[in-house]
Subunit: 290 residues, 2 copies
């Protein structure tokens, strides 16, 4: 995660950040000089906190969109109460929820919370944010899960997930939660859903599964890795086929047909699972409940 100097005292409203703590302190010093303020290094350090690193979450988003996501993620974190076991999703919006939970634990306004990460990435973020973590196999129920989405439907409790290839663990953990809160932004909506559905598959099934997706009326694309030759492998050694069905008019039937494909491990269509969507807008944050 990156580090942020966040200072809101003496009528000031300062927020600067850098990838490292030393970098953030330098940024803070520059800004304090600009504003004719005088804080010693210990005072500066006291106001440094962790934030998701744009480099780490590899977001292609521009600043305004990041700001939407920041608002969505931070607001979603408000659902977490003392003593809860929380599923921690993957992605650029959920990263802000993880950071916010960490800040609240750090401030002492949130206690006895335990997180279960949906990916190596959310595990690392949560660890750095100071959230106590347990393994997914240690519990069978979670109080709440906060997760992102590649596309959400404002009229129905369905989302498409898996752009980050973590949808299998996300669906597992989100299914364990009494309440699933999707943290996202207002630009990712579609009624009906139409985002290509990621399908994780056994590597040896890659040829015939694409044929079967075409038989089901979809347009399949094997996902290729960056920074590595050949296809992308998930944490469980599966490949990803992104299956474009255009408008998904009957998500229940689509989900069932995808689940039955031999060789398929998990698809990214989450049907009737969403309890709440917290989404950032241009200048605010809103909530849709199902």
């Amino acid at each position: 995660m990156a580090k942020q100097f966040s200072y809101h005292q003496q009528g000031q409203d300062i927020s600067v950040w850098a990838e490292t703590e030393d970098g953030a302190i330098e940024e803070a010093k520059d800004e304090l000089v600009n504003r004719d303020l005088n804080l010693d290094e210990d005072e500066i350090r006291e106001n440094i906190r962790v934030i998701p690193s744009p480099q780490r979450i590899k977001s292609p988003a521009e600043d305004v969109l990041m700001d939407m996501r920041r608002r969505g993620g931070m607001e979603a974190a408000e659902v977490v109460e003392d003593g809860m076991d929380v599923g921690l999703g993957t992605g650029s919006t959920t990263a802000w929820a993880i950071a916010k939970i960490g800040w609240k634990i750090d401030e002492g306004t949130l206690q006895n919370v335990r997180g279960v990460a949906t990916s190596l990435q959310s595990h690392e973020l949560a660890k750095e944010a100071g959230i106590p973590l347990i393994n997914v196999d240690e519990v069978t129920e979670l109080d709440v899960a906060i997760d992102g989405a590649d596309q959400w439907d404002p009229e129905n409790p369905h989302v498409v997930k898996g752009g980050g290839a973590s949808h299998a663990r996300e669906k597992l953990i989100d299914s364990m939660a009494e309440k699933l809160v999707i943290a996202t932004d207002e630009n990712k909506t579609s009624t009906p859903l139409s985002y290509p559905i990621p399908l994780s598959i056994l590597p040896e099934s890659r040829t015939v599964v694409r044929e079967w997706i075409r038989d089901q009326g979809g347009d399949p694309t094997l996902r290729y890795a960056e920074k590595k030759d050949g296809p992308l492998f998930t944490a469980n050694g599966n490949l990803i086929v992104d299956c474009d069905f255009g408008d998904i008019e009957d998500p229940e039937e689509r989900a069932e047909r995808l689940a039955r494909i031999p060789g398929a491990q998990e698809h990214g269509l989450f049907v009737n699972m969403v309890d709440e969507v917290v989404y950032g807008t241009d200048d605010d944050v809103e909530t849709t409940r199902f």
Copy 2:
């Protein structure tokens, strides 16, 4: 595979075998001496053929049952015709089908056949038997698949498979075949099916999936490995939970509910997939067609 000296000339009917070719030649020489026959070593070698090794297929079956399986497997091989692409299943009965296909290729009575193996084990057997092999990703259709079963239903085209933990690849390859022939024996029948259904799952889902199986009315057991500490892993890095539901009264619904479990990769209930069952009996072999 083991080696068999099989000699049916001069009014003789000799069949002896050993794990190695040298061993089989020694057995043959002993038997020929017993019968006062004189063959030189080249003539003996000409009548040596590969057979499934009881050690390799690790069958706990007694001789009579092996004989049933031998009959079932060898008869099932008759479905293969010139030019066919054939799915090659896993297990002690299918091993005999693989051997028989190899003999026919060797004799020249079967030509231009290509096999697709459902497991490392069937791949190795088929290679040794001399069947030309292609990878599963090279084709999207097979003419026929020959596979075993842990339990079959004489009244319905369903089987339970996966005692050998290969059911995911078996279901993939059997689904690619225009015709699925189950090679088995008469002792493995049940109407309705009642064999515990193997379910391959993501390792991290092992706790909650067992809870969900109990919610569905099943009795789950995590399968442990032999010759290795801890649970058994499949070729794709999944674990196996054997899910005992007692009598499976509604296999379609059961299959659908298992397929939808988050964390599940594939289950061993094959519903409406079977075209033909070839099964050995005490002294014969019979066929049921669906």
